[in-house]
């Protein structure tokens, strides 16, 4: 288990769990995810959390039913060493990717990039 490559969204969720530390629960992970991703979705998040659990990257446990959650328990997630290793690998890959691009590129490039356009030279006869 835990040999698959992490997808982007999986990486974001693992980062959120890592930021929250031990026993992170759904709503907190979602709030953290809102800081990382653009418009994340709770449904997608839980499906991905299930997938991460199946892959062996995170482990979960339930608390007792809570009245403020309409009698539903909290599901707390904790990262496993395999998950931490996968996240580290993903970070190092991103770091290598960033290092591969020279810093001068960012200072040189002005956003948005405008490609040089071909201009028709005026005819000599017109001049």
């Amino acid at each position: 288990m835990g040999k698959d490559r992490l997808a982007d969204f999986e990486e974001s969720i693992l980062s959120a769990i890592a930021a929250l530390g031990e026993d992170a629960y759904g709503l907190d992970i979602y709030k953290k995810l809102c800081e990382i991703e653009k418009k994340p979705n709770q449904g997608s998040m839980y499906v991905t959390l299930d997938r991460l659990e199946r892959k062996g990257y995170v482990v979960s446990r339930y608390t007792l039913p809570l009245p403020e959650r309409g009698g539903q328990p909290k599901k707390l997630y904790r990262m496993k060493p395999e998950g931490a290793a996968a996240l580290q690998e993903a970070f190092e890959k991103s770091k290598r990717r960033i290092q591969a691009v020279p810093k001068s590129f960012w200072s040189f490039v002005k956003w948005p990039i405008r490609f040089p356009t071909y201009r028709k030279e005026p005819k000599k006869s017109d001049a």
């Binding site: 759904g26 709503l27 979602y30 979705n41 709770q42 449904g43 997608s44 998040m45 839980y46 499906v47 991905t48 299930d50 997938r51 199946r54 809570l66 403020e68 959650r69 309409g70 539903q72 328990p73 909290k74 599901k75």
Partner: protein
């Protein structure tokens, strides 16, 4: 007494007042996918602002679940094949556009089903329910389609049934190939009952389609229709009988023996209910005979077409039935293999249980 009456009246008034919030909560609870319902429901309760907010959050969550669950790389290919199969099965009685629309609706229903299925519990049972969903959706949509223009529902029932079975079952068998559970051998013992039902479904669809084909290709010889409808059932029973030791075959009464372990007896009975690749010549011939019988109506139709006597042949029915039977025949190889795997797992389990019985019970140390 007066107090009691007023209490009863108060209670009655309370009952009469409809609590829309409760109804909304129940609908939302019912709509959420079962495997993540508890977590989502808890979050919605904690962050509840207004009914509209709840509805919006629910729709978003369901949309997200559908998108994420159907994001697997194989999904687009599977969806296209399943849509094409269903469209082809409907072409007999519909224009390509209408058939495509209906196939799209059935595929959308299956997509929602996929989203609501717990990935942890994905197995052969899912496939069986895929088939049931596809066949039921096709039947209902066709009934609605027939009701719309004319209302001649009774006359349309036979071909609605045939097309639903042909399209739904074929599409589901394709889905089985795309969504094969990861370790079929490990799960085979637990899935025995479902695999048995898959066999029953396959066989039932073949027999129904055969009967429909016999109706679509009229035969002049008396008794031939009854023979062609009944012969595949007899051949299939004979094939099962080949696997059973002793008299009576799979349908024989189950006798309890005191010299054999109950697990072993159970395995022996199950062994006779699933058809595996035959080892004897008689078994092979019977298997080939079954498929030859299935091909007879189509061979007769081709012969009549060749000799230009095909005026009474309903080609619109014959074509999809032939296509569906061809697909089902190809899938038989996979089903047979699945049966063999299941029985292998069953034997393994029996051996394990017998070995456990031979071991002496472990002594427990009493520290009293």
């Amino acid at each position: 007494m007066a107090d009691k009456v007023s209490n009863v009246q108060k209670r009655a008034q309370k009952v009469r007042r409809i609590n829309y919030r409760t109804i909304l909560f129940k609908i939302v609870w019912w709509l959420l996918p079962a495997h993540i319902r508890s977590e989502l429901w808890g979050n919605f309760q904690q962050s509840y602002k207004s009914p509209w907010h709840l509805i919006r959050e629910t729709i978003n969550a369901i949309r997200g679940v559908i998108r994420r669950q159907t994001q697997e790389p194989y999904y687009p290919g599977m969806a296209i094949i399943q849509m094409l199969t269903i469209t082809v099965s409907l072409l007999g009685t519909m224009t390509p556009f209408r058939a495509g629309v209906l196939a799209g609706a059935v595929s959308a229903g299956l997509l929602v089903r996929d989203a609501y299925t717990n990935p942890d519990k994905r197995g052969y049972a899912c496939f069986l329910w895929d088939a049931v969903t596809a066949i039921a959706l096709l039947a209902v949509l066709q009934v609605l389609d027939v009701l719309r223009p004319s209302g001649a529902l009774l006359a349309a029932f036979p071909w609605i049934g045939v097309q639903s079975l042909a399209g739904g079952a074929s599409a589901s068998f394709f889905r089985l190939i795309f969504r094969m559970p990861p370790n079929p051998l490990d799960r085979a013992f637990d899935d025995y009952r479902v695999i048995f039902y898959i066999n029953v479904l396959w066989f039932t669809v073949c027999i129904v389609l055969m009967s429909a084909a016999v109706e679509a290709v009229p035969f002049d010889t008396p008794g031939l229709i009854s023979f062609l409808s009944g012969a595949p059932i007899v051949v299939a029973c004979m094939l099962l009988h080949q696997q059973r030791e002793g008299l009576g075959g799979a349908l024989s009464p189950r006798l309890t023996s005191i010299s054999e372990h109950p697990v072993q007896q159970d395995a022996r009975v199950k062994n006779a209910t699933l058809v595996v690749p035959p080892e004897t010549l008689a078994g092979r011939l019977l298997e080939i005979g079954f498929f030859v019988l299935l091909a007879v109506p189509f061979a007769a139709a081709l012969w009549k077409w060749w000799t230009k006597q095909d005026a009474w042949i309903d080609w619109y029915q014959v074509r999809p039935i032939a296509g569906a039977l061809l697909i089902l025949s190809i899938f038989w190889i996979r089903i047979r293999q699945l049966n063999a795997e299941t029985l292998k797992a069953l034997q393994k389990k029996v051996k394990e249980e017998l070995k456990a019985l031979e071991k002496p019970p472990e002594k427990k140390d009493d520290h009293t």
